[in-house]
Amino acid sequence: MLSRRLIACLDVRNGSVVKGVQFADLADAGDPAALARRYNSEGIDELVILDVTATIENRRALQETLRKVSAELFIPLAVGGGIRSEADAAAALDAGADKVALNSAALEDPSLLTRLASRYGSQAVITAIDAKLGHAGTYEVFARSGRSATQREAVEWAREAADRGAGEILLTSIDRDGTRSGFDCTLTAAVSGAVSIPVIASGGAGSFEHFYDVFTQGSADAALAASVFHFSEHAVGELKGYLRERGVPVRL
């Protein structure tokens, strides 16, 4: 049976790992290559490196960080932040990433998803969607690290991204990000039910129960977290044990 994936996110700025609370107030949490090694030995299923400030400062994700992280890693590695063109994607993949996550650039030019999918395969293309609950009860998509409203609706954009060739959706709740109050299961279930490609839930992980909830109520295919994994060396194994006991298939 296909396992639900646990993905550790390394929010990187200037070559070191930081963790944001609602995309601000970044506090230091370590060396990316050392953390990647630790996660790999703890049994994490996949890693995402997010260059959190790349889009704003118009920088590409640090090639050197990717090389160091991927050097000894034999699990899937995705990178996001600052992937704005086919050339950016090529540079990230050459540096050792297996997948690139596009957010603002895909919103500005959705055909970029199709071009990347035909060149590298859909499995290499993730559409990252940052969504926030609006007054009308629908989820609005934001670009540029949560700073620009797009007036697009999350479910509708996820469908379009899948149709255009994205192989996975990385869905972040801006409302929950960094709060440790739980994933947004309503948002996740709505998107997961609307597309046939896997949905990675992100934003809000604070306890083991939150992961159970997002895999069951939220129908997430994978769940991503940062600080939950950063500050304990036993979190990955213990979390997998917790999920397995409750009937959620995981890789042990």
Binding site: I75, D94, Y120, G121, Q123, E168, P198, A222
Partner: protein, 209 residues
């Protein structure tokens, strides 16, 4: 040297890194002449079955001759599917035909997503040089929508809606639907086995007869 066939689709960085980590010496090739000195050939691949059309027709002949000569060939993901006769993904595009059967789309069933992405377990069906040392139930990383049928060449199956061929082996022809270069220790073990088979082909040939 292990030749890694490049037909212009996807990224080979991870495959090359995996072969190196398994003790092999990989070299990317797109021309048939490079196969002359190769101890083994890896056919990687991601994406659409039609991508294999980009392969030089001479390379196709060279691969068939290479396999007929008894040296080991390993297809990974789309590379495994390419070992078969064809795929409903691209009717009219011929596979290598080293194994019998046609690849088909995984079924869409309630609660099961296609593509099949993530870690899933292997059900090992019998002795296999490639899967040597891998326990039944070992988890490996997949990402695909089409799959090869279970035949007598199948040495491990995986289930996603239906059972499909996760690993195939017939003499010197090997294939894995999963990505060994992305499957942590279990995957590296598979690559190490292939590197060993490439280094000691006589061992492999005597074993397959």
């Amino acid at each position: 040297m292990i030749a890694v066939v490049d037909y212009g689709a996807g990224n080979l960085t991870s495959v090359l890194k995996g072969i190196r980590a398994a003790g092999g010496n990989p070299a990317v090739t797109a021309v048939p002449e490079d196969l002359v000195d190769a101890a083994g050939v890896v056919i990687p691949g991601v994406g659409h079955f039609a991508a294999t059309r980009a392969l030089d027709p001479r390379m196709r002949q060279a691969l068939l001759a290479f396999a007929a000569g008894g040296r080991p060939v390993l297809g990974i993901c789309l590379g495994l599917q390419f070992l078969f006769e064809g795929s409903t993904e691209a009717p009219g595009v011929r596979g290598l035909g080293l194994l019998r059967g046609e690849c088909t789309l995984l079924p869409s069933l309630p609660g099961l997503k296609v593509p099949h992405v993530g870690w899933n377990s292997l059900a090992v069906r019998g002795p296999s040089a490639l899967l040597d040392g891998l326990g039944d139930g070992a988890q490996v990383y997949f990402t695909h929508s089409y799959a090869a049928p279970v035949t007598d060449a199948t040495v491990a199956t995986t289930e996603h809606g239906i059972p499909f061929a996760a690993a195939v082996e017939r003499g010197n022809v090997f294939g894995v639907q999963f990505h060994p270069e992305k499957s942590s220790e279990a995957g590296l073990r598979v690559l190490r086995s292939f590197v060993q088979i490439s280094k000691f082909p006589d061992f492999q040939i005597s074993k397959s007869c």
